[in-house]
């Protein structure tokens, strides 16, 4: 089956969907490559990235189309015609076969692109521009297109000349909306890939830049501008994105998040320096970047706090700034604070949450109070996954072990306290989990373990024949 073809093949009369054997019969020396839908989608999204330089509103139109909303952007590139030319030439230079058109509505522009690429239609001229094209150019379902052709409506103009209610009754409301949009009556909003950032500043270079110092300088200047425009509205940035547009079309975007709104350009500067420093695959300038864009994709209103009198506020600010810096360097998920959870299962009792977002909550969290004048009942170090130990025998069936082997070392039990029975939450889990009996144990060396028996003796664990089997033992934690 032919999935896609180039112009030369099209001229030979081949078409998409044709069986490969037929195509080979028509053209014996046909060059064939396997279709790779995933790679195609990736390429399309890369091109969309590159198109970000023209407008922040870029939408995908799979399998091989892109919508660019250039409202208010065209004048930056010398008008619509110049923009269209720049875009088509740049993409053609990168080796893509490209057709583009500009119109008041996205559907109309798509129809034009399929039929007469390079056309610019002024507002109001949509109907006139497309009425001579075949109905297939609208991009409706195959059944609708065939149905229209059977009804004798060959061109878009034919269909448009009918009463809209007839079309809706015969082909459905979706098609009539599509038609209306193509004719310039109303427009469906495109679905941009990225949400529009709140603030954008960018710098273009006639001569591409490549050195680290130039990149750093550009970023800090952009940060100044960004801060200045945010300051006017009393905003601070919570998420910042720097996009580096390489001359050969590759776009690299780097994101930095902060726990508190940033209002100083020096902070932005430092965060990006940390981030760029720590990148696993460093920024590769190639032949240089011809554009750098800094955008604040999430902003917040800044609440001014009285700083000088309250040292506590200062400390919290400092801590938040430190967390932001560390997070920029090693990733936000690697800096965590802890929130107590309402459960008695030891491994789920504490939730580690990113410190950037949960610092304030964690500082106010209510932890269960410890029992006064009791030794610690929970271990200081807890294994994520309990580690199995071998217990040769237990004197009392339900009792603690006398000795056990953990990590190939034997430990003789000297002191024991327990059991503390922890039953699993039967109302939550899908599968049945076993009841655990925990023992605090001290061995001959003075090391202290938190050991549990998984399952009640002769009550919960069974072997293949359905007979009671001895339960397994695990080390779950270590006491100080």
């Amino acid at each position: 089956m032919i999935h896609a073809l180039d112009e030369a093949a099209e001229r030979l009369g081949l078409h998409i969907g044709q069986p490969l054997a037929n195509a080979r019969a028509m053209c014996p020396d046909l060059k064939v490559f396997d279709a790779d839908v995933v790679a195609d989608a990736k390429t399309l999204s890369d091109i969309a990235d590159w198109c970000d330089r023209f407008t922040p509103l870029v939408a995908l139109d799979p399998p091989h189309g892109l919508f660019l909303d250039i409202t208010g952007c065209a004048h930056l590139f010398g008008g619509e015609a110049a923009l269209l030319q720049t875009l088509v030439r740049a993409l053609a230079r990168q080796g893509f076969a490209v057709g583009a058109a500009i119109a008041g509505t996205s559907v109309c522009a798509r129809t034009l692109t399929r039929q007469t690429p390079g056309v610019i239609v002024a507002d109001g001229g949509e109907a006139a521009a497309i009425d001579r094209f075949p109905v297939s150019a609208l991009g409706a379902d195959e059944t609708i297109t065939t149905g229209l052709r059977r009804a004798g409506l060959k061109t878009i103009g034919d269909v448009a000349s009918r009463n809209p209610s007839e079309i809706t009754a015969r082909f459905g409301a979706r098609f009539s909306t599509l038609l209306a949009h193509a004719l310039g009556q109303g427009d469906a909003p495109i679905n941009p890939r990225k949400p529009l950032p709140d603030y954008i500043v960018e710098k273009r270079f006639a001569e591409p830049i490549a050195t680290d110092t130039m990149i750093a300088m550009t970023l800090s200047r952009l940060a100044d501008t960004l801060i200045a425009s945010m300051e006017k509205q009393g905003k601070g940035a919570r998420r910042l994105e720097a996009a580096f547009f390489r001359t050969d079309g590759v776009v690299r975007a780097i994101m930095v998040e902060t726990g508190r709104p940033v209002t100083r350009s020096a902070v932005i500067d430092r965060l990006f320096r940390e981030r760029l420093d720590a990148l696993a695959d460093p920024l590769d300038p190639g032949f240089g970047f011809d554009m750098v864009r800094l955008s604040a994709s999430r902003t917040e209103i800044v609440v001014q706090e009285q700083r000088d009198l309250d040292a506590h506020v200062h400390d919290n600010d400092e801590l938040a700034a430190l967390i932001d810096r560390i997070a920029a360097r090693i990733g936000g998920k690697r800096v965590v604070v802890h929130l107590p959870q309402d459960t008695h299962i030891p491994e789920q009792a504490v939730l580690a949450a990113p410190a950037q977002h949960h610092l304030a909550v964690a500082m106010q969290a209510e932890w269960p109070a410890r029992a006064e004048s009791e030794p610690p009942l929970r271990p200081l170090r807890l294994f994520d996954k309990p580690e199995p130990v071998t217990v040769p025998f237990a004197t009392v069936p339900d009792g603690p072990p006398h000795q056990f082997t953990w990590r190939r070392a034997k430990h003789a039990v000297v002191r024991v306290e327990g059991p503390e029975r922890i039953a699993m939450e039967w109302w939550r889990q899908d599968g049945k989990q076993l009841t655990r009996d925990y023992f605090r144990i001290e061995d001959a060396e003075g090391l202290r373990f938190w050991i549990f028996r998984d399952g009640l003796y002769e009550g919960e664990v069974f072997d293949a024949d359905g007979k009671p089997a001895p339960p397994n033992w695990y080390v779950h934690g270590l006491f100080a």
Partner: protein
Amino acid sequence: MSGARMSALATLRSQIERIETAEVGHHHDRVALGHSEVDHALKGGLARAAIHEVFCEGRQGAVATGFVTGLAGRVTTQRPLLWVRQDFSELEAGALSMSGLAELGLDPRRVVMVRAADVESALRTSADALACDALGAVVLELWGETRQFDLVASRKLTLAAQSSGVTGLLLRMAAQPLPSTAETRWMLRAAHSPPGSASMPAAPWSAWGAPRFDVELLRNRHGPCGRWIMEWKCDECQFSEPSAYPQPVAAAPAHRPDPAVLQQRRAG
């Protein structure tokens, strides 16, 4: 010796003097641990604005963690504690449990944990954190011998701690002590719970008490070294001398003194 050279020497000397006194200035800030002999050896307590190293064998990881937690609890009671750990140490010794931390009498709300992937980023993060004066203490937890933590890295941490006043605690599990610029260096081993007395025999199933540490002070820049048994009092949040009894014992009847108690009084 010419006059110019003399004056140059004098300037250098005065500079050195100034640097030294500046360092000493910080060292006045000490916090008592609660164990009188240890505090005496430390000239009043653990120095703030300095680096302290705690070493242990691999299997004693939890013991050393407990000791470091205790030191951190003594150093700061209000300010946040940044705990930087390497991914690998969590696999080997288990993750630091906040429930366990709370059981030791510390406040888990003040702990911010950094999960560094490797030693290098852990070192860098802690150097950065030590320079932030909003923190009370920074704990750096490393597992095994590392090439990256050399004298230069150690000096960097010390300088950062001195300039900000934050205390740095290094938890080195499964590592051998090496020269460094640390103020103190400790070797930790597990200590038994106290045996029962004559009036309360050490039955194998008897209850046992607070965390105990067999602490060896290997290096002390401003005092003698030594080895002690220290106990951590969870309720008071401080160290103390080892208690002989794991549980509070009922007072001996006044008319018929307990021979064991008498013996002990004589010995003490």
